[in-house]
Amino acid sequence: MKKMMTGNEAIAYGAYLNGVRVGAAYPGTPSTEIMESFATYPGVFSEWAPNEKVALDVGIGAAYAGTRALVAMKHVGVNVAADSLFYAVYTGLKGGLVIVTADDPNMHSSQNEQDNRNYAKFAKIPMLEPSDGEEAKQFVGLALKMSEKFDTPVMLRSVTRLSHSSTPVEISTDEPPPPAEPPLYERNIRKYVMVPANARLRHPIIEARLKELAEYAESLPINRIEPGDDTLGIVAAGAAYQYAREVFPKATFLKLGMVYPLPEKMIREFAAKVKTVLVVEELDPFFEEQIRLMGIEVRGKDIFPTIGELSPSLIRECVAKAGLPVDSPAQSEVAATDASASIELPIRPPMLCPGCGHRGLFHVLREANVVVLGDIGCYTLGAAPPLSALHTCGCMGASIGVAHGVSRAGIKDRFVAVIGDSTFFHAGIHPLINTLYNNSAVTTIITDNRVTAMTGHQQHPGTGITLQEQETEAIDLEQLARGIGFKKVDVCDPYDMEKLSEILEDHLASEQPSVIVAARPCVLYTREKSTPPRVDPEECTDCGACLELGCSPLMQEEDHVSIDPLLCNGCGLCMQVCPVGAITRD
């Protein structure tokens, strides 16, 4: 029987079927649903770790203890986890460990589009890349076996178009293997304690293992030559393989399931069969450079972009431009292009939801005219007009350290750091400690909406609930800051803009390291709603003050503003900013 599954669901299913018992992740698009889905299977333990590095250490620990483990993260999560990745490659593990990296070409929801295949080469770790759900399920099983056979973690790469695409997946009638009796922990100091003397012994093993893996890749059925017309020989993997297959139904293909290390003999045999070798890959010339180093002539990034996603249309266009044989698209697009250009369609950028507490905070920050060293989450939308009140966003946890650097450099402006609660638990605690340790006058504002909102409302260490819906200790941000040693800590509801503004002024004037917790649960999560206020058109002077909140239910009419009661959440921020009291609630 077949069932439609997203790539993410298929990865989780593959892990379950192959006896994975421990899963750990930190949310991040497009990887999030892997662990959400895995958590629902019987007999497994699965958690949200505070960040990707912790998640990977958890997976490594489980694998050291002999259990099969799954760790998942978005591409930039691997940067956070990289230190652990590199040592795990050295130590190896007892149980199989699969590390999923979900890359995001085109940055549908990311701050960059790094190509994590480079990590495979960098860390000297094998990497598999499935091209649909069925492969995703199967490759997880294969990765686990490889992990145990070669004593190394194995990476599995996905991209947005695999993670978030649904394809039919064969449902197995077999039960996953039952859990084994807990073994005694293998105490092998030489292998698992990476002091230089031991690590030096490990490095040659890693190099030899890579050679063995490359040899293994030659006979691995997931690397295969698909014979066809010999004018073009296309090398491709993953989602790019599917796009290329769509465009070249008859060409000869080298379909790579294992993207590192590469099967050199197979590539040579393939290149000898075809007139032109064409590498179709998204982002970096990862295959292309390696194949060139083999002395084989290829076309690739001279034709295709290194930026963004590929698609069948784009491949067709690029190949035609390069003068290589390709079917032109079935329909002329001239009429469509002309017609589309004939009217302007206003864009629909994401924005803070009606009722979002972040809005109150950013209104206060804008009024205070402070520089905001920001971070990643829904609150990054504070940078969008008309609020335009957040001035940096680089990676998770950067805000506080950057603010400290700014403070030490010295600027005329007043400034604050703004960081979300989930982001704070992820990477904010260390830089916060640093502001106290190195005594800088940074005011850190933690936007405590009691959930990881941006990625779709996951639990985190502050919520008191685990991924598998167990109640647990909720870590209190105010207590945490005080426990670290902060003397100046305040908690305020950002709906109360007057009070928040007072507290902010007080903290800025105090010129000491301090913390403000802006506490208001995410309304999209709680689904709470109050009675929407109304604008009295007679009283409204059409001054536009309320529109500066950038709240979608507020609408510009002919000579006044109105509120759409269906969209309004009733937070009342607009009532607070109206200078003439024209907005009231019955």
């Binding site: 439609m4 599917q242 329909q331 009429a335 469509a336 004939s342 369609l345 206003p346 950028p349 979608s552």
Partner: protein, 195 residues
């Protein structure tokens, strides 16, 4: 088996996801190979949502190519307009006569195009453009949330063939207590398509 490419376009919260799930399962039910791609990144924050659904003998890419869509279903007028580059002469376009103004329009900083403008743009490319008051029909049925299933009813009539598979999947994928309502909504869509 002829390939059929669909794009469902709307605004976060309009039910495009349920509708694309139904469409995907119907394809499977009818014996097609099926793929679906979705970008939902910031959907919950009022952004644009798009689903590509492809039926065929063997489907490779989950993405519909420009100039290749067979059926475009716009859950919102502006969003229907956004996909014009994907249309061809014999595409069928189904547009929900419903507008959700983007923020720039609310702020008076951009203009929402007129219905006639969207209509004429779509018509210069695709011959078949159908307007449906799905939101109004849904409200008459007592629940605006079923607008998506009404649009699927319209779509099923245009795709042709028996509606048994469609109804079966609709009933399977919606919560039990809303089965009857969704069944009515689907049939209301089919009726709207025939008038």
């Amino acid at each position: 088996m002829k390939k059929i490419d669909f794009i469902l376009a709307g605004v976060g919260g309009q039910g495009t996801i349920l509708a694309s799930n139904i469409l995907t399962e119907v394809g499977l039910e009818l014996g097609y190979d099926v793929k679906k791609a979705e970008v939902l990144g910031m959907a919950q924050r009022g952004g644009t949502v798009e689903s590509h659904v492809r039926w065929g003998e063997k489907v490779y890419s989950p993405l519909v190519e420009e100039g290749e869509v067979d059926f475009l279903v716009g859950f919102e007028m502006l969003e229907a307009g956004r996909w014009s580059l994907y249309l061809k002469k014999d595409s069928t376009v189904i547009v929900n006569r419903y507008r959700i103004p983007p923020p720039a329009v609310n702020l008076g900083k951009a203009v929402y195009p007129k219905e006639e403008e969207i209509e004429s743009m779509l018509k210069t490319i695709a011959e078949q453009v159908f307007w449906v008051d799905a939101m109004k029909i849904a409200q008459d049925l007592g629940n605006p949330a079923v607008a998506g299933v009404i649009l699927l009813g319209v779509l099923s009539s245009r795709v042709g063939g028996s509606s048994d598979a469609w109804l079966k999947v609709v009933e399977r994928l919606v919560p039990a207590k809303f089965q009857e309502l969704n069944r009515k909504a689907f049939l209301a869509g089919q009726e709207a398509a025939s008038t």
